[in-house]
């Protein structure tokens, strides 16, 4: 009895299924990819596939954190990809960078001080999120339509800002954000740790998390019990926008340019997928930050695995789709019930 109970607990544990999938993926790599788990130290930096996955997954993890909170309030934000494109365009425009020769040495000068450019870009991102929040809480639109507006128009705005071209950034210090190393690890990992840790602390060590969940479960009950659900939701959308902004800094700095059309393409879908894989129900309520992190890692590991196994990258999307379906089916209680019933009948 006790044994069965503990097994049940394992299966019911919130991260069990997603962790299993991640473990299976890593196991695949252990068998098929040589040196996948090898981590080397070159020039004082750690190198290896695992580090690479963490580094590449960073923007996705950050966006999924914002998305998790949004989904917990029974919402959805399909404008994060566009927000990323706009923010990227803003930061690239502000920093830009010109080649100037000072004392016979070639140096790149930024148009606006980098710190200011970053602050402005993040403010823009948060404002975009706040706009979504305003439409949803004050105007009363459904989250999917309110964010659809920006997901349609956002890329147009980003292209308007960049004048339809790809803006290249020539300013070395800016490249540190997405490509630099600190104490041997990519800087982006620290950024992820900061955001995940900060959000975890705020939602799990204070009552904020419970407020968010209660708004997601029943907004009316939450309001009656004294939660200012409108402001809370608006703030969460602003936070989601901010997350997209931070991800934009990483992406823009990493590719050293801003592309209004392609930057952050399909990010909203990947992020929602990461959240869903992580076990947070799209119907709102309980949310699992770590689950979303694992979800984002699964998506990135899958991509890296496909490349490293040597399968043509064209198959990437199909495999990703199949994983979506498998993870969804595994997580679906109705599916498990049906399969389980079939099993007991055959036994």
């Amino acid at each position: 009895m006790g044994k069965k109970g503990s097994f049940d607990n394992i299966f019911k544990s919130k991260n069990f299924w997603s962790l299993t999938v991640l473990a299976l993926l890593l196991l695949c790599n252990l068998i098929f990819t040589k040196g996948f788990f090898r981590i080397e130290i070159k020039d004082g930096h750690l190198f290896g596939s695992l580090i690479d996955i963490l580094n590449r997954a960073a923007p996705m993890i950050i966006i999924s954190i914002g998305m998790t909170l949004v989904i917990a309030t029974k919402g959805i934000d399909i404008s994060v990809g566009s927000t990323l494109a706009i923010t990227g365009a803003v930061v690239a425009m502000l920093i830009g960078g010109n080649l100037q020769i000072v004392d016979g040495v070639q140096t790149y000068i930024s148009k606006v001080p980098m710190a200011l450019a970053i602050i402005v870009a993040l403010l823009v991102a948060a404002l975009i999120g706040l706009w979504n929040g305003f439409l949803i809480t004050r105007v009363g639109m459904q989250p999917i339509i309110a964010t659809l507006i920006l997901s349609v128009a956002g890329r147009g705005v980003a292209q308007l800002l960049t004048n339809g071209q790809i803006i290249t950034v020539y300013y070395k210090p800016f490249f540190f954000i997405g490509g630099g190393y600190l104490f041997g690890l990519p800087f982006s990992i620290y950024l992820v740790a900061l955001i995940v840790g900060g959000t975890f602390f705020l939602t799990r060590k204070t009552a904020l998390g419970m407020f968010i969940e209660s708004v997601g479960v029943n907004p009316v009950a939450a309001r009656v019990s004294g939660i200012n659900s409108k402001n809370l939701m608006a703030a969460i959308y602003a936070f989601c926008g901010l997350c997209a902004g931070v991800a934009a800094l990483l992406v823009t700095s990493n590719v050293k340019s801003a592309d209004g059309i392609h930057a952050g393409e399909l990010f909203e879908l990947d992020a929602i997928l990461a959240v869903a894989i992580g076990g947070t129900s799209l119907a709102g309520g309980k949310f699992y930050l770590m689950g979303s992190v694992i979800g984002a890692l699964i998506i990135q590991t899958l991509k890296t695995t496909i490349y490293s196994i040597g399968v043509p990258p064209e198959i990437n999307l199909v495999v990703e789709a199949l994983v979506v379906f498998i993870v969804m089916l595994i997580q679906s209680e109705d599916f498990r019930k049906i399969v389980f019933r079939v099993k007991t009948v055959t036994e």
Binding site: V152, A153, G164, I315, M328, L329, I338
Partner: protein, 355 residues
């Protein structure tokens, strides 16, 4: 009862959409006299036939309270499969059309089964469908495959002349046929009534004894079928198969449905509104093209602004409806004998508004 609304509130959104189209087109006529010619008007249908067909499928999904994100990818996959079967396998073109339609319908059925029987979120399931269809395109080929098949080429260039210069093509006929079919399905069949009922309140629909399971699966089957048909239209239009064809077209389709006056919560809207939604988007595109100096990205911005305006209007409309509660009930009672399905939706709608 004294101030019974002149126009049934139910039609307000539809009328707004239609009048907006007329106004925009009139503005076009004033700015560019060539807008008055039949050519420009018919081109609107020729250039937007594929969008209309997926928007029809999307309307049904949204009316039932769901969504289908896989439509754009499905068009890409259809063009790719058609091109491959025609050019590489040299199959009979009509057989190819049958195969792709079957493929689209079964793809939709598969998603519908997952959505209904495993209680998965339509957004995520069709998102998976989006990835899968696009991914299958890349597996077939990453390059453009040009279609040289005689039958496809002749259908593509076949023109029905209405006047000396103005003509329509096969795509427009398909556009019209699917619109008529959709209007028939939505308003004159048991299937259509059940779709509205599910969108209003699924639980009530089940309790009323409506075939919810079958209908929900059929909705996605129909949407898949529409996507494949739209893919065929797109193939005629482009005469090539390419993995990136119709990329992100699902957002345009959703925008058209919203502008057409369908509420994304489901249960409320008209297919004919969707048609005008598509025409409005098309008119704006034509206007921007005629204007000449505005860049292509203005189209996206205008689409976004349009969706915003329409949503604001819908909210206003819903708020008004909340105030007119007692009146509406009167209207409901009067109509209960003739159209029970639609009335259910109106009353359900009110419930959601009051929350």
């Amino acid at each position: 009862m004294k101030n019974k609304p002149l126009i049934n509130l139910r039609y307000v959104l539809l009328i707004t959409t239609i009048s907006l189209f007329v106004v925009i087109y009139a503005i076009g006529c004033i700015l560019y006299p060539s807008f008055l010619s039949l050519d420009v008007f018919l081109n609107l249908f020729i250039d937007n036939a594929f969008l209309m067909v997926i928007a029809v499928g999307m309307s049904f999904a949204i009316l039932s309270g769901g969504i289908d994100l896989s439509v754009g990818s499905m068009i890409g996959l259809t063009t790719m499969v058609s091109a491959h079967l025609l050019e590489k396998a040299h199959m009979n073109p009509f057989l190819v059309m049958a195969i792709v339609l079957l493929m689209g319908a079964s793809f939709g059925t598969m998603m519908g089964v997952m959505i209904h029987y495993f209680k998965l979120n339509p957004f995520i399931v069709t998102l998976g469908g989006l990835f899968l269809a696009r991914g299958l395109c890349y597996i077939i080929s990453t390059d453009t495959i040009n279609i040289t098949n005689e039958v496809y080429r002749s259908i593509s260039s076949y023109r029905f002349y209405i006047t000396d210069t103005a003509f329509i093509n096969v795509n427009v006929l398909l556009f019209i046929a699917i619109t008529i079919l959709a209007v028939y399905l939505a308003h004159y069949t048991k299937f259509g009534r059940t779709v509205y009922a599910i969108g209003g309140n699924e639980q009530s629909a089940v309790l009323m004894g409506l075939p919810v399971a079958r209908t929900k699966v059929l909705i996605y089957t129909f949407s898949g079928f529409c996507s494949a048909l739209s893919g065929i239209i797109f193939t005629f239009y482009m005469l090539s198969g390419y993995a990136l064809h119709a990329k992100a077209l699902e957002t345009d389709a959703i925008a058209a449905v919203v502008i057409g006056g369908t509420l994304l919560t489901g249960g409320y809207g008209y297919v004919i509104g969707t048609m005008f939604g598509v025409l409005i988007l098309g008119t704006f595109q034509t206007l921007i093209m005629f204007q000449g100096t505005l860049s292509a990205w203005w189209t996206r911005i205008v689409y976004g602004v349009l969706v915003l305006l329409f949503c604001l209007f819908q909210r206003l409309f819903e708020a008004n409806k909340g105030k007119m509660k007692p009146q509406l009930q009167e209207v409901d009672k009067n109509k209960i004998d003739s159209k029970p399905d639609v009335d259910l939706n109106v009353s359900e709608q009110r419930e959601t508004v009051s929350v």
